[in-house]
């Protein structure tokens, strides 16, 4: 009995912290219809600043407030300085917040270092209450009390005050609210800052449970996201319910099923998504636009001179045209082939890594750029393939490349078929959130399933591919060429797919899914196939990454890997294939250069690039490069005899659109 009560109280106290953490996220999701992925990072700011202020002033309460104010300020700057400029571009806003995660985390690391700090429990709260056999720390009671107090205050604020009513009006109907004279932009900023303030408030308070370290930004984001999805967005009661459920599931899971407790909350999340995607309480979260808004935004984006294919109105491509179109690829391939034997081994290694990441990036581009399925868990596919190679090579002693490569690819395909099936139950921003959850779920499996995966130590000792040719050992140059061949094959396959009828149909789904359905397409199947192909190709990258590092560690599955892939796609130009390839070059080289000159500041630069890309370079590099190249377009030869072939004019280049 005491044991159950204790577990219950542990769950409730954790739930209280989760509530404070998630309240702001729920508010901004309900009102602004965007997911602030940097919410966890803002929570982290609250924890670090709160601890610093406590240490300086010696007062815990001032520390709490200090952390909250700092977090609120970060939120204020984010919203007023950046998010506001992307008004009505929800997906851009979401991507922007990823950039802020990197920046905030790196600045925190810059100031306080990478070593985890420990939270503090003020002396007055450090006692333990004991009644009979039952003992429980006072600090936990304080968390519960404080959490409930804040819940009541927030509820009163949202349900009983005029500002709260205004917020609800904004959630109900933005257009009418604005037309009654309510300045929604100001309201957005205020709510965003308030949500950040509350998250910051619990940074220090929750530190004994959550820790104060650099990982906590991601952990807090995932927890808050799960709470909000379970509870429903936009209502205090929903968030409280979700927080308590997750807190209790976590506490009881850890007490009774310690081995699988880490999965319990993910299982709860997946169940909710499958059966009640709008959450238990609260309003359905949707960024789906009305048809009218869609036409408007589409015409807006189409006006940007990025994606207009060259319309020369000429005949089928002649030899020169074909050469012109292939020339950049042939050129790039020649350069890569020549660089192989020429480069010193350090740079050759770097270039090998570029090519592996390029495979990863172009695979993501099929989903994200062509299919419009923005995934933040793509590293999962790469990771499982890598782990398959690692497990077979290290644990089972299988060395033959011709076994390991297909094994990795098949496992990646299987996993993507399973994950894709569940993820496609939801769309839009929820799709993004579920992919994050799955990515994280697999990362946890890799960490916890020590016997098979080697836990945090990972699997070490994967040797270079054994091609099974007697007397032939693959050196660094040979490995480089093997990766090069893999990239060429993957690129060719994907290129063929995106220029095929299927590829066009996939773009059609991205552009206008309802219309595709009424034109007779089973759009679900189109998307599902895209995810499986994309996951399979990511598996190829995973196999080579395992060989490249000679080891597999859980971080290859983690969210940072996925966001790096996203950045390559966005930077290079989604929906262009060669763009993400360039993105991979820029990101990998950038990382290496920054590691040489400003070690430790790479995430800061990465975050900055992310933000610049989203705000200024919506189409990535690719359209600029391709326009530059089009200046060299040759005069095509005229063809008069078409030999019964229907004359469609010159077949246009399909890569950009």
């Amino acid at each position: 009995m005491e044991r159950i009560l204790t577990i219950f109280l542990i769950g409730i106290s954790f739930g209280s912290i989760l509530f404070l953490l998630s309240a702001g996220l729920s508010l901004t999701m309900g009102l602004m219809r965007i997911v602030n992925l940097a919410h966890g990072a803002i929570f982290m700011v609250g924890a670090y600043v709160g601890l610093a202020v406590t240490n300086i002033t010696g007062h815990f309460t001032i520390g709490l407030l200090g952390g909250a104010v700092a977090a609120g300020l970060v939120g204020l700057i984010m919203e007023a300085g950046f998010l506001r400029r992307l008004y009505k571009q929800e997906s851009g806003q979401v991507l922007l917040t990823i950039g802020f995660i990197y920046i905030i985390m790196n600045v925190v690391q810059w100031i306080w270092g990478a070593k985890p700090l420990s939270g503090i429990v003020p002396g007055s709260l450090s006692a333990v209450i004991g009644i009979g056999d039952f003992y429980f720390p006072v600090f936990r009671f304080f968390m519960i009390g404080f959490g409930l107090l804040m819940a009541v205050l927030l509820w009163l604020f949202q349900d009983k005050t005029k500002v709260g009513a205004t917020i609800r009006a904004g959630m109900d109907n933005r257009q009418v609210a604005t037309a009654l004279g309510i300045n929604l932009k100001r309201l957005f900023t205020a709510v965003f800052a308030l949500g950040s303030f509350v998250a910051g408030l619990c940074g220090l308070l929750g530190a004994p449970l959550m820790g104060i370290n650099l990982q906590v930004g991601w952990d807090a984001l995932l927890l808050a996201m799960i709470v909000v999805i379970v509870g429903g967005t936009g209502s205090v009661q929903g968030t409280l319910l979700g927080a308590m459920i997750i807190g209790l599931v976590d506490a009881f899971g850890k007490a009774y099923f310690p081995d699988i407790a880490y999965f319990a909350i993910y299982v709860a999340l997946i169940l909710i998504l499958l059966f009640r995607p709008s959450g238990l309480l609260g309003r359905p979260f949707s960024i789906q636009k009305t048809a009218e808004e869609m036409t408007q935004s589409v015409t807006l984006s189409a006006k940007m001179p990025l994606s207009i294919p060259a319309a020369t109105g000429l005949r089928k491509p002649g030899a020169r045209q074909r050469l012109y179109r292939l020339a950049p690829f042939i050129g790039a391939a020649c350069v890569l082939i020549m660089l192989g034997p020429l480069l010193p081994s350090f740079y050759l290694g770097m270039l090998t890594k570029v090519l592996i990441y390029a495979i990863f990036a172009i695979s993501l581009d099929l989903m994200m750029g062509y299919g419009g399925l923005t995934s933040m868990g793509h590293a999962a596919f790469l990771g499982v393939a890598g782990y398959t190679v690692g497990i077979l090579a290290v644990k089972e002693g299988i060395g033959l490349f011709w076994v390991l490569l297909p094994a990795g690819i098949v496992v990646a395909a299987l996993i993507s078929a399973i994950i894709g099936y569940i993820c496609l139950r939801v769309s839009g921003t929820y799709f993004l959130l579920v992919t994050i959850a799955f990515g994280q779920l697999l990362a946890i499996v890799a960490t916890k399933w020590y016997k098979v995966t080697g836990g945090t130590d990972g699997l070490v000792g994967i040797k270079r591919p054994d091609l099974g040719i007697p007397g032939f050992n693959l050196g660094p140059i040979g490995f480089y060429f093997l990766v090069f061949i893999a990239l060429v094959v993957c690129f060719a396959v994907l290129y063929r797919i995106v220029t095929s009828a299927y590829g066009r149909a996939l773009v059609g789904v991205r552009e206008n899914e309802p219309r595709m359905r009424s034109l007779g397409y089973n759009t679900w199947r189109l998307k599902y196939v895209a995810i499986i192909i994309s996951g399979t190709v990511a598996g190829v990258a995973g196999v080579f990454l395992a060989y490249y590092y000679g080891a597999m560690v859980p971080s290859t599955l983690a969210i940072e890997m996925s966001t790096a892939g996203m950045l390559m796609v966005i930077l290079g130009g989604p929906g262009t294939l060669f763009g993400p390839f360039i993105g991979a070059i820029v990101v990998v080289l950038g990382e290496n250069i920054s590691l040489t000159y400003v070690p430790d500041r790479w995430p800061l630069i990465l975050g900055g690039i992310f933000i610049l890309c989203v705000m200024l370079l919506r189409g990535g590099f690719a359209p600029y490069l391709s326009r530059l190249y089009q200046r060299f377009r040759p005069e095509p030869a005229r063809i008069t005899d078409l030999g019964g072939v229907p004359d469609l004019g010159e077949v246009p280049d399909l890569r950009e659109s």
Binding site: A165, T166, A169, Q175, T178, A179, L180, G181, V298
Partner: protein, 232 residues
């Protein structure tokens, strides 16, 4: 005085208004009649700034308001009674009114008490949530909510839509009473109601004004009515 001159509005590339000019003098009720889909709602959304015009001018008391944000236009003195009423379902009746509240500088004008006096039914229902009201009550709430902003001009988009004839009468009485203190631009499909309350009528067809006259004149002009409002 609200004035539109040669207003052209587009939805994306689609042109919805083709040079609309009309005027709502101070203290007048001006009716816009026309079949649905002809541009009445677009005119109201254009004035409100929700779909700003691409060409032409919209002036409120001599001041150009085309291109301003909707909330700014509302604060300059335009009250909005949207089509479908636009009641906030998760707000109580009272909250629906108070969030719109904006006092005149001299303290005169509509207050919650005065609105309750004018619409006693809303006072009775003040704790109920907006979506639990009947259609007629919702329409009254929508009008009352617009009054709470103390506008000098009210834009009403099809207040009779979906209401029983009795209730339409009640709404007509309210609009006539408002004439004393406000100018009203009324979009309607319900010809009799518009003829009963308006001082002047514009007929809108396919995004242009095709006829304007006093209500008396219009009710004697069977041909115009049939051509632009009826089925033939």
């Amino acid at each position: 005085m609200l004035e539109l001159q040669n207003v052209e509005t587009f939805y994306g590339e689609r042109q919805a208004l083709f040079g609309v000019s009309l005027a709502v003098p101070k203290g007048a009720v001006v009716g816009m009649l026309g079949r649905n889909g002809m541009g009445k709602t677009t005119i109201i959304r254009t004035i409100m700034g929700i779909n700003p015009p691409r060409r032409g001018s919209v002036r409120l008391n001599g001041r150009e308001i085309a291109g301003l944000e909707p909330d700014r236009i509302a604060r300059l003195g335009i009250g909005f009674v949207p089509q479908g009423r636009g009641i906030f379902p998760s707000l109580s009746v009272k909250e629906n009114l108070t969030i719109a509240e904006r006092r005149n500088e001299d303290g005169t004008g509509w207050t919650l008490e005065k609105v309750y006096d004018a619409f006693p039914i809303l006072k009775k229902r003040q704790r109920q949530y907006g979506n639990l009201l009947s259609g007629g009550e919702q329409q009254m709430l929508s009008i009352a909510r617009a009054l709470m902003t103390n506008p000098d001009t009210l834009l009403m988009d099809e207040p009779s839509e979906g209401l029983a004839p009795m209730v339409v009468n009640d709404i007509s009485v309210i609009i006539r009473e408002l004439k004393a203190s406000h100018s009203v631009l009324l979009a309607e499909q319900h010809m009799n109601m518009a003829l009963a309350v308006a001082d002047y009528i514009y007929i809108i067809n396919k995004g242009t004004v095709v006829h304007e006259s006093s209500p008396e004149e219009l009710s004697n002009n069977v041909d115009i009515c049939r051509r632009f409002l009826g089925v033939c």
